[in-house]
Each structure stands twice: as structure tokens, then as C-alpha cells.
Amino acid sequence: MTMHKFTIPVGPQHPALKEPESFLVTLSGEKIMKFSARLGYNHRGIEKACEERTYTQDVYLTERICGICSHSHSTCFVQAVEEIAGAVVPNRALYIRTIIAELERIHSHLLWLGVAGHEVGFDTLLMYTWRDRELVMDILALTTGNRVNYGINTIGGVRRDLTSDQIKKTLNAMDKLEERTKYYIQIATEETTLIKRLSGVGVLSHKDAVKLGAVGPTARASGVDRDVRRDDPYAAYDQIKFKVITDNHNDVYGRTLVRMGELMECYNMIRQLLKNLPEGPITVKVPRKIPAGEATSRYEAPRGEDVHYVKSNGTEKPERVKVRAPTLANIQTVAKMLEDRQLADLPIVIAAIDPCFSCTDRLTVLKDSDSGKKRVMKWEDLHHYSIEWHLKHGVDFSGLNSKLSAKLAKVK
């Protein structure tokens, strides 16, 4: 008996998707026979909008292409403009850009690990990683003034310097995060249920990854040894040592291992950068009008390679800005990953390429329901309030790792 085929729409709004994309999935029973994607629901016409704005305005506009890889896009853009203008960016600025870049990678990868946990029904992992992610969010807020959309870049350098206090706090956070990441690596390599749920799911062979132009951790988990930070270095990447993490599992499990390996590299890179942070200015003056020219800029964003092309015409507005974000390259591999797979694997397979979605909320205006009086709670107040609230309800989040090891020791 042949099974009747059904075609079901998933998205553009769907509980299993975190962002608007529409997929048409043809099923035979539970098995996926055909998969097609319709993108563009988030198209905001930013390339056209860039042509109508000045270069300085475009730094902020490109930063808003993505809510997570925001620094990736603004850096990729300013690099192209600086190349055309012939600006020699001070080394200290390049270091600071690289530090923020790797902090952004930490926040992005921890966020992904939580989402991946959630998609496979391991919500404890989501709670843990997102709790730990707050450490890096705090450092980003401390050093740049914002949790996302850092506004650190400007054409010719960066807008804020690092103080010795910030450096100290960042190094402390790296130690804590490293300890926690080691714990997650232990879970991922020893916890059988997680390994079994992720292994053999969303398979993308090395050959297909190359053929379909996969980028970032998606490609590297299929043994594609490509990373722009090493291959076509920008910012301060040619001045530090790091390993490009690859894996040959070719599946969601491999993608998890690659991202966790990259987290460990991030901590080392940030330590090197902070230790060797050169003295000097953080910006060089670049004229508002950029001479006619063109440049192609690349950047290894947390999700993979980001490409910007900028053409100038001698005015203060660009002639053309072209952006290729990593998800556009990776979404083309999803159909291959889902071939002959079960429908239940769809959410984690899509999530495993780490498609982009935005977040952030940092200032809340509260209105007292009785008096109608408004008061403003800043981020620190909210943070403090949340800890106090949990303490009052008998939940103490402090020193979780030490409590856990004490508990484990007792069991043994």
C-alpha cells in the first residue's frame, strides 16, 4: 500500500520556529519527502536604505541587520569603507573590535546551546546556558554600554576605550564561563540521551557542505576547514593564536561540539587580546566624503561568514551596499539535511544552523497601578530585583557550580 502524501506549511509563524520563514514540507507518514523554503519575511530594504543615508548613519543601520551578530555586520561594513578611504585604523581599535567580536560569539553560541536544548526537550540546558550567558551580556553592557547593538564601531576605529577595571572584570568572567563551558562539554560528551538525540540528525556530508556553500559551524561540523579569521584575517586576528575547530560527525551533534569548542577558543583569544592590548589612540579621522572606489569585506560571524560589498562615489553616501549574511548561505543546506528524515527532527535541524533572530529589552518604565506614578527601572535594578525575588521565594542561584560538585561528591 502506498502512503498518501501530505504537504503541510510550517511558518511564517509557527510555534516551532523562532523567526518568520515559511517552509512547505511534503510528508509520507512522518517522513519528509520534500522541503522548500520561502524567505524574505524580514526583508526591510536595508541595502536600499544604506544608499539613502550617510556612511556614519549606515554604521548604525548595518548594526541593526541582526539582533545577535550586530557587531559582525557593523564591523564588516566599516572595514569595507575604511579600505576604500585608505584609513589606517589604530591597532588598539582593532584589538577592541576583536574583543567585542569574540564576546559576541560567546553570547551567540551560549544562546544557541540553550535553543538547541529547548528544541530537543532538554529545557534545563536552556535555563543553565541562558543564565550563564548573562555573564557575557553583563560584560558587553559594561564595556560598550549595551547588551546588543553595541555601537562600538565607527569609521576609523572604535568609540569607547577599555578601562583597567573593565579588563579585570572581563578576565574574571572568562574564568567563570570557561568553567561552565567545561561542564557543558562534559554533558555533551557523556550524557547519552543528548548524544543519541543529536547524532545522525540533520546529516550534511562533507561533499554536500562544500557543494551547497555552507558556512561557519554548519560547514566546520562537516569537516570543512574554513574560517575567515584565519584564512583572510581582519581586525587583530593575525596577531593572536587560535585553533579553527572542525568535526567530522556531519550532524547536529557535530555542530554542537564545534560551537562548544569555539567557546573555549573564545576565552583564550580574549585573554590574549586583553593581555597584549596595545597602547595608543582608538580612532583615526576619516573624512565624511569617501573617495570613489569599492571593497569586498569578510567577517567570521558566530553563524558563519558575513560578506559586505561597498561601492562609493565620492559623496558622503554610498553608491551601493551589498550584504550576504551567513544564514542565507546555510538555509540552502537545510533541504539536504531533512531529506528522508522524520518531521519531529525539523525544529532542531533548522535550529542547528543557528538562524538569526533578535532580542533585547533593557529599560522598563513601570506604572504604579494604585497611584499611577511612573518610575524607571534600569538594567541593574531589574537584575537586582530578579535576584531578590528568587531569594525571597527560596531559590538561591549563587555558587551553583560549587553546590553541584558538593552534591555530586556526596552521591559518590
Binding site: 522548500s36 526583508h43 574554513r226 583572510d232 569586498t296 569578510r298
Partner: protein
């Protein structure tokens, strides 16, 4: 000799049509300008012989009389070869390169939607990135295009 200089020399030696039409933009960046008739020859050679196996993306540019398309190609060791070609703005059309790069599909659909280039040989599929109700003949990345509420409607303006 630097990597990009070697590639440039090899290309000039092989193809007479690149004489004075190819340059290094900076370390690891080469820009070659070719007529549309020679484009495929150069692309094939770059992929097979010069080992530029990666298509980063494609950029379309409205240059007034013509529409230019840049194919951004990359090698494993970090070089980019930008191959630029131009086509007429009246009924512009290109041949697909999805036979070599299946990932060109989405980039070519983007050229169709935003610049109105017809890409021959592209498999049937969804448009990208404009919405389904977008009016025909409206190409936002053309320089003379302006937002027009009457044409594209409130939802899209």
C-alpha cells in the same frame, strides 16, 4: 610574488581579453572586468584551474546605461576574485550558474527581484526576497526607483 599577483599574471597570460581590465585591489583581492561573452570562460577557469571553489555572493549594480553583476569568488587560502560583467539595462538577462554553484540559486533570485534581471535556466521556485503581492516591473535597487505607495501599497511602502 604575492598570491594575488601570481593569480593576476596567470590570468593575463591565459586570456588576452583581460589585458588592462584586471587589477589587484589590495592583498588577497583581485578585480577582473569581462564582457558577458567571456564571462563563462573565465568563471570555469577560475573554478577548475585557479581553485576558486567558493561563491561568496553576487552583487548587482545599476550603472545607468548598464547593469553590472559582480560574482565574488573565494579560494581556500583567503583570496577573493571579483569577476565583474555588465549587461544592457533594457531586458537584462543572464545565464544561471547554478550548474556550477547550486548555492547561486538564492543570489540569482535576489537579482531577479531587486534589479529585474531575468536569469535563464533558473529552476522553478519561490521568489526572493520581495513579497508575493509585489507589483510587476518594480525593482527597488534600480537607481531611478522610488517608493510609491500607490503602486506597492501601504503594506510594502
Amino acid at each position: 610574488m604575492s598570491k594575488e599577483e601570481e593569480i593576476l599574471q596567470a590570468l593575463v597570460k591565459k586570456f588576452g581579453f583581460l589585458e588592462n581590465r584586471i587589477k589587484t585591489q589590495r592583498p588577497r583581492r583581485i578585480l577582473a572586468d569581462v564582457d558577458i561573452g567571456n564571462f563563462k570562460t573565465l568563471l570555469d577557469y577560475a573554478v577548475k584551474e585557479l581553485r576558486f571553489p567558493i561563491l561568496l555572493t553576487m552583487t548587482g549594480l545599476d550603472e545607468g546605461e548598464k547593469i553590472a553583476v559582480i560574482y565574488h569568488m573565494a579560494s581556500e587560502d583567503g583570496c577573493i576574485l571579483n569577476i565583474r560583467t555588465a549587461i544592457a539595462k533594457v531586458n537584462p538577462s543572464l545565464k544561471t550558474i547554478t550548474d556550477i554553484f547550486p548555492n547561486a540559486d538564492i543570489y540569482e533570485r535576489e537579482l531577479e527581484d531587486l534589479l529585474g534581471i531575468k536569469v535563464d535556466g533558473l529552476a522553478p521556485g519561490n521568489r526572493y526576497p520581495l513579497p508575493d503581492g509585489w507589483p510587476a516591473g518594480e525593482y527597488p535597487l534600480r537607481k531611478d526607483w522610488k517608493k510609491n505607495k500607490e503602486k506597492v501599497g501601504d503594506d510594502h511602502a
